[in-house]
């Protein structure tokens, strides 16, 4: 109970960080459809992407299939219905009527990570556009060779401002906002790229998941990809067992003479020398067997790193969710319980910040899995059509989900006692009380 935790904190038995973590975890565990907060959707099509800005945690950006993107204020409601239902209307909407609006569906809308003055939309009309939030004008656009499925910007980048874009084309392109040109073209995938994710620990590492089932790691300072995740190379648990590194040693000794002169420096923290050596050896050309490795059967539809940057979650059109150790590049063999995933669209997964829970859009519902055990923790039901995306706001411990039924729903921690008390204050008289009524 929360009052118990408070009491422990009062007595100093619980340290501040721990107290905070406990409170966050408890709130994250009690997510339910929020009755007191709702978004009035301005979209006329499926909501494909939602994201809350990373600086203030206040503005929600959504992109929809009707070519529109909208921004909502998450914290301040536009109006209150019936006294206590906070209704949030869009404070900015760019759609087809806009002179520079997208013609086709917006597949991804992301904030510029360091400021809310810019946001980026990627669309099926083969354009990636960078918008000025305040003037609602297009600052610059990039023409892609195919439908753009996803776009990503590194949340921790300090030295570059690159938009990684994955399209129906086989190459990942990096668009530089500073220069307005493509700086990189990363080749390696054999099919379109559905999902992209920047590493949370190194600003140079990019991870891409393609329709060919491969997840590739790229170091953008160097040519070519340095790692391809293989679902059959696995490790048990969170860390690679020691046994493996000893086995690895003889192997690495054998390979030493072929090793390049460069020291492994691609990963921010590459603790396992064996892994690094293999990566080094294989690097530019990558031997054929590893180059053909797949992470999923079918397309990789979603990628998400944990906030500490150590693990990567991927979802595939084979309806599986896999947890990868980024350092070792191995499948951790966490068995997530049976689920059914959309296969044709990129999915946006969400992870709590501890990380303890992962939220996965499973058809018309969102399932929360325990990250380490793979058990279903909760099933969030409320949407009437397929859910495409979810975003977990760490600041408020709220989950935002967008679906084909055009709605953006807020799932907030349900603390019934609090809400009841507050409701009583604000409730208007003309509403029927939600009470038992057995008398005839």
């Amino acid at each position: 109970m929360w009052c118990e935790a408070v009491r422990l904190r009062e007595r100093g038995e619980l340290r501040a960080r721990r107290f905070e973590a406990v409170a966050r975890a408890r709130r994250a565990a009690s997510l339910a459809l929020s009755n007191r907060k709702e978004f009035a959707t301005p979209h006329h099509g499926a909501v494909n992407s939602v994201q809350v800005d990373l600086t203030e945690g206040r503005y929600l950006l959504s992109g929809a299939s009707d070519g529109s993107a909208a921004i909502f204020d998450v914290q301040n409601a536009t109006e209150y219905e019936a006294g206590f239902i906070a209704k949030h209307r869009s404070i900015l909407l760019v759609d087809k009527q806009h002179e520079n609006g997208h013609k086709f569906a917006v597949s991804m809308a992301i904030w510029y990570p360091v400021d809310t003055g810019l946001f980026v939309t990627a669309s099926f009309d083969q354009y990636v556009k960078v918008w000025d939030t305040n003037s609602a004008q297009v600052v610059m656009d990039f023409k892609m060779p195919g439908k753009v499925y996803s776009a990503a910007m590194s949340p921790i980048a300090t030295t570059h401002m690159l938009i990684a874009t994955g399209s129906a084309d086989v190459q990942v392109r990096l668009c530089d906002i500073a220069s307005g040109a493509f700086t990189h073209t990363l080749s390696g995938h054999r099919d379109g790229i559905m999902s992209l994710e920047w590493s949370a620990s190194s600003e140079w590492i990019l991870m891409s998941g393609g329709c060919d089932g491969a997840i590739r790691f790229w170091d953008i300072r160097r040519a070519g990809c340095f790692c391809v995740l293989d679902q059959s190379r696995s490790q048990l648990g969170r860390r690679p067992p020691f046994l493996e590194s000893t086995v690895e040693k003889s192997y690495s000794v054998q390979q030493r003479k072929g090793k390049s002169n460069k020291k492994p420096q691609t990963l921010h923290k590459s603790q396992i020398p064996g892994q690094g050596q293999i990566q080094q050896r294989l690097h530019p050309g990558l031997s054929t067997s590893q180059n053909r490795a797949t992470a999923h059967y079918g397309a990789v539809t979603g990628l998400r790193t944990t906030t500490d940057g150590m693990y990567l979650l991927s979802s595939g059109s084979d309806s599986r969710l896999r947890l990868w150790d980024i350092d070792s590049g191995r499948n951790t063999l966490v068995n997530f319980e049976a689920m059914r995933l959309q296969t044709s669209k990129p999915l946006q997964l969400a992870v709590t910040e501890d990380p303890s829970l992962v939220f996965v859009p499973c058809m018309a519902s969102i399932k929360a899995y325990n990250l380490w055990s793979g058990m279903t923790f909760q099933t969030l039901r409320g949407h009437y059509e397929l859910v495409n995306c979810c975003y977990y706001s760490a600041q408020e411990q709220e989950l935002f989900t967008g679906s084909n039924d055009r709605q953006i729903l807020v799932w907030s921690p349900s603390t019934p006692d609090f809400t009841e008390m507050e409701d009583d204050d604000r409730r208007q008289k003309d509403f029927v009380a939600d009470e038992d009524n057995w008398s005839d």
Binding site: L33, N35, N437
Partner: protein
């Protein structure tokens, strides 16, 4: 877009941690609900419902239990079970907060089962219950939303989704909106109406005076016309007497023909009256009557503070309207209809067009030789002379014109007519007589550099034009001569009207001799005249004569042609019908067959015609009876099908009576079960659809066996189901 099939686990079961408060109550709730939903009645038994409520309110566990049971019942593939379960769920939803929260959480799974808005998962049969369920669900959802929407986001979401995305109609929402809109509309119309009434108040007397004057005008005109028509009747009677038409039938035919035509003759002196009358009549009908009716409707609809003016004005207007109606009926009694008015205003040519009858021209009865050389010139009725028969008749000259003009004999013109060559009409007549070259570009258009160089002076030589104007056509209309009526007129001479079958003045056209006596009635001297048929139509006579002579000499019994065949052929075909007549006569008067020579060919022909006609009419009557029977049958089938749009609904409609029967004698009749509701009753409509759709799927052997039977049936009843 498929939904994963949701595990139908009752939440009560999921939350196993809840201690079962009282197992007896729970089981009783579950069993009560089971009992309540396993009946075929259209609604839940109220007593049972009360019992369920009592059991459910006992504890939270009971509510959870009931919720679980209801959810599993809602998933059953039977719309009636779902309907009953939904009724109970609705009741509990309105009562219990716990039930509300449970249902709200499961609403996205619950609603598709109740409303069936997902195309992949429609509501299960029977259809009647499914329709009821959908209606009830939508209504209940709206009510829930209205009452508890503020507390449950799920309810708001569901209503919004159904309204915006699934496009389900919500009666209440629509009503509320439409009521307001209607009220606004009503107020606006009332405003307009009051303004109108105020206007009427000012100029009611003026309107009335205007109408009065018009009706008076018409009355006066009618008075005059009436006198005229009396005169005409006398005139008509005089003519009758003049013509001395003996038979009553003839007179009636003549009267009918007069009545159908313009029977008030419009002469020079009364034309003015007629025109004035028409004008005012039109004014009355198309303007005054309409305005009066409009005013009446305005007065009826308006809501005024004082009804005094309204009532009085209404009374007056109704009086005026009745007056107008009376005048109109008088006018129409006199044959002054509105369409009549239109027609009379037309020029003579238009009338001629009305008389044009497209049809094959047949000469039913060969008349006698046309003795008078110029039949058309002595024709009394020039207008009738332009009938199609006359037109065909006169294809050897410009007869219509000639007929008309020859009224005033113009010797010079007649001479020219005689000289003029007879040509068929063609475009060559445009350039008749000109022997010059023609310019290619006749119109003087500047066609420079449109299609290349143009020679403006290019000409077509006259010889070439002549060559181009050669007109030839393969088909030529057979010249058919329509025989004149030839009935003797009182003034002397014979009637020269040429009609196909019936002369409007003298009845059916029959062959007559030179004096105009019908030949058929005087046997003897026609025989002496010889065969008139042979004389009139050369071609027919050539065919007919030898055969008849043959028959006259040889035994009639040798005739090989069956009478049945002749019924198919046209009775005007002379050879076959005459033979049939012969045969019939043989059969009928076998003993009187000795004096076969006494019976003239005409008589035989006429009798043949009569016989064949009679048989035809008999056949037709039989056919008509048959068709009426088939129509009746089809109508019955269709009515049955319309009453029950599907067999499911018939099954549903049949139910109540069956249940009543079951209550009466349970042992005898089989009780209707839920399963029986699903069972499809094979109706005529199903049979039809099966026959239309599954014809191929039918077994080949069965088809083989039934084929002949089917064919004969189809032949016998071609338009029957």
């Amino acid at each position: 877009m498929q939904r994963p099939s949701r595990p139908k686990v009752a939440p009560g079961g999921e939350r196993g941690s809840n201690p079962p408060s009282s197992s007896a109550a729970e089981t009783s709730v579950a069993s009560l609900i089971e009992r309540a939903t396993s009946i075929t009645d259209p609604s839940v038994d109220p007593a049972l419902l009360r019992a369920i409520k009592c059991a459910a309110r006992a504890s939270d566990g009971a509510i959870r239990d009931a919720f679980g049971v209801l959810l599993s019942l809602m998933a059953k593939p039977h719309a009636h079970v779902r309907l009953l379960a939904f009724t109970i769920a609705d009741e509990l939803f309105m009562r219990s907060k716990l039930f509300r929260s449970l249902l709200a959480d499961a609403l996205d799974g619950f609603l598709p089962l109740a409303v069936g808005f997902r195309r992949a998962h429609p509501l299960p049969p029977p259809a009647a219950s499914a329709a009821l369920l959908r209606k009830a669900a939508v209504q209940a959802l709206e009510r829930w939303h209205h009452l508890f929407g503020a507390h449950y986001r799920q309810l708001r979401l569901a209503v919004e989704y159904l309204k915006e995305s699934a496009r389900v109609q919500f009666p209440g929402l629509r009503d509320r909106v439409s009521v307001e809109a209607r009220a606004a509309r009503e107020a606006r119309t009332q405003e307009i109406l009051t303004a109108k009434v105020n206007q009427l108040r000012q100029n009611l007397s003026a309107i009335k005076a205007e109408i009065r004057s018009t009706t008076d005008e018409i009355r006066n005109g009618l008075e005059i016309i009436h006198m005229e028509s009396k005169n005409f009747e006398i005139y008509a009677n005089n003519e009758d007497e003049e013509q001395e038409i003996a038979s009553l039938a003839m007179r009636s035919i003549r009267m009918a023909s007069l009545m159908s035509g313009e029977w008030i003759p419009e002469t020079q002196e009364n034309e003015v009256i007629f025109n004035a009358l028409r004008e005012s009549y039109r004014l009355l009908v198309s303007k005054h009557l309409v305005t009066v009716q409009e005013w009446i409707s305005v007065l009826v609809r308006v809501n005024l503070a004082d009804n005094h003016f309204r009532d009085s004005a209404l009374k007056e207007l109704i009086d005026v309207k009745n007056e107008i109606r009376a005048v109109r009926s008088r006018c129409s009694d006199l044959g002054l209809d509105l369409d009549n008015v239109h027609r009379r205003r037309g020029v003579q040519e238009e009338e001629d067009d009305d008389f044009w009858v497209v049809g094959k021209i047949e000469v039913p009865i060969p008349g006698r030789v046309d003795t008078s050389a110029d039949a058309a010139s002595s024709s009394k009725d020039t207008r009738k002379g332009k009938m199609p028969g006359a037109r065909v008749n006169s294809d050897n000259g410009k007869a219509p014109n000639a007929g008309n003009r020859s009224r005033k004999p113009n010797p010079e013109k007649a001479k020219l007519h005689a000289e003029a060559p007879v040509l068929p009409w063609s475009s060559a007549l445009d350039r008749w007589g000109s022997n010059r070259d023609a310019h290619v570009n006749q119109r003087g258009l500047e066609l420079e550099s449109h299609w290349g160089r143009v020679d403006n002076d290019a000409v077509i030589p006259a010889t070439k034009i002549a060559e181009l104007n050669v007109h030839s056509s393969v088909y030529k209309e057979d010249p058919v001569e329509i025989q004149p009526c030839c009935a003797p007129l009182k003034r002397g001479g014979l009637c020269q009207r040429r009609d196909l079958k019936v002369c409007p003045f003298h009845g059916p056209i029959v062959p007559r001799d030179a004096e105009g006596n019908p030949i058929g009635q005087s046997d003897g001297h026609c025989d002496a005249d010889g065969n008139p048929v042979g004389q009139t139509d050369g071609c027919y006579g050539a065919e007919v004569n030898p055969m008849e002579q043959n028959e006259g000499s040889s035994d009639a019994g040798e005739n090989l042609i069956q009478p049945g065949e002749s019924s198919d052929g046209e009775y005007v075909q002379e050879p076959s019908s005459s033979r049939v007549v012969n045969r019939n006569n043989d059969i009928r008067n076998n003993d009187t067959s000795h004096d076969l020579g006494n019976i003239t060919v005409e008589q035989l022909a006429r009798q043949a015609v009569n016989n064949v006609r009679k048989r035809n009419s008999d056949d037709k009557a039989r056919e008509r009876v048959q068709r009426a029977k088939i129509r009746q049958h089809n109508q019955d089938v269709l009515r049955e099908a319309a009453l029950a749009s599907t067999s499911h609904s018939t099954a549903a409609y049949d139910l109540p009576s069956q249940t009543v029967a079951r209550q009466g004698r349970r042992g005898k009749t089989k009780a209707p079960t839920l399963a029986s509701m699903l069972k499809k009753k094979v109706t005529t409509k199903d049979r039809i659809t099966e026959r239309l759709l599954n014809a191929r799927a039918r077994d080949a052997t069965i088809r083989e066996v039934s084929h002949n039977e089917d064919m004969s049936y189809r032949e016998a009843f071609p338009n029957q189901w």
